[in-house]
Symmetry: C2
Subunit: 162 residues, 2 copies
């Protein structure tokens, strides 16, 4: 079942709302996606037709098992891409969020897996002592240290927010 980019965004948002507030409502989905309620209304009907959510007119919106599995995949893909953008390419976090949104749709599951592996390879390299210093842009070990520092910094900031 090939979903559209927008359907994937809906699933993602529904999942996030379900996990954070317990339920998803048309108005909240519309706010999150910055679109109007009628647009959401039509979209959730299409997702219901695909058995990805359960929903009755004026009723609650809930992901089905299948819908939740897909939502989780989408979110994981999003996070991998965003991590690459922010921690490796040093793209500004807000921009990265937007770009990851559309890039994830373009990226196959296979490529996503490869990107994930690549990121962890970069992060987990065995230490190589740099012959110069800890900030040598020509040295992969230094680059790795820089990337690791960026990553842990970002994680801390996230914790502070929460």
């Amino acid at each position: 079942m090939k979903l559209t980019n927008s359907q994937e965004e809906y699933l993602k948002v529904i999942y996030i709302l379900e996990k954070s507030t317990g339920k998803s409502r048309v108005t909240d989905i519309a706010k999150k996606l910055k679109i109007t309620k009628p647009s959401v209304n039509r979209a959730i009907k299409s997702l219901r037709d695909l058995d990805l959510i359960e929903y009755e007119v004026y009723g609650e919106i809930n992901l089905t098992y299948k819908g939740e599995e897909i939502a989780k995949e989408i979110i994981k893909k999003h996070d991998i891409i965003k991590m690459f953008l922010v921690d490796i390419l040093e793209v500004d976090e807000k921009d990265a969020e937007e770009e990851a949104k559309s890039m994830k749709y373009a990226m196959s599951p296979d490529t996503t897996k490869k990107l994930e592996k690549y990121i962890s390879k970069i992060m987990d390299l065995g230490d190589l002592d740099c012959e110069y210093d800890k900030n040598n842009p020509k040295c992969q070990s230094c680059i790795k240290v820089t990337i690791k520092n960026r990553l842990s910094k970002r994680k801390e900031q996230k914790k502070l927010k929460a």
Copy 2:
């Protein structure tokens, strides 16, 4: 001027046809993009309205200066992304071609520049002698050598084709 993904693909193909055969024709564009002629017909009108191509009914299709500049940018972006996919992530070339097509639309000019820099950084690292051998997956120097080898191999194969 924000173009759609499909408009960008049209520009790219028109540029390639212009450079390789001297001119672009509706039928050739349709074949390249695997769509029908009426679809192309409508698209070139929209590009003409944006002053990106010059064209009259039943006449020749030519990129304007502006159109050509944009086409070149699009192609460059495509190549950068494809290089990342093929030479660094080791995605199969055909898959990479398809993914680059849609990914480039999602990627901002700024991020593209960052990706370009990242690729050249990986390629141009000063040599670090690996303490093990030339195929140590934990060693960035070895990884770099592997990536470089992949790249030059691919370039050779391209030459052989041409």
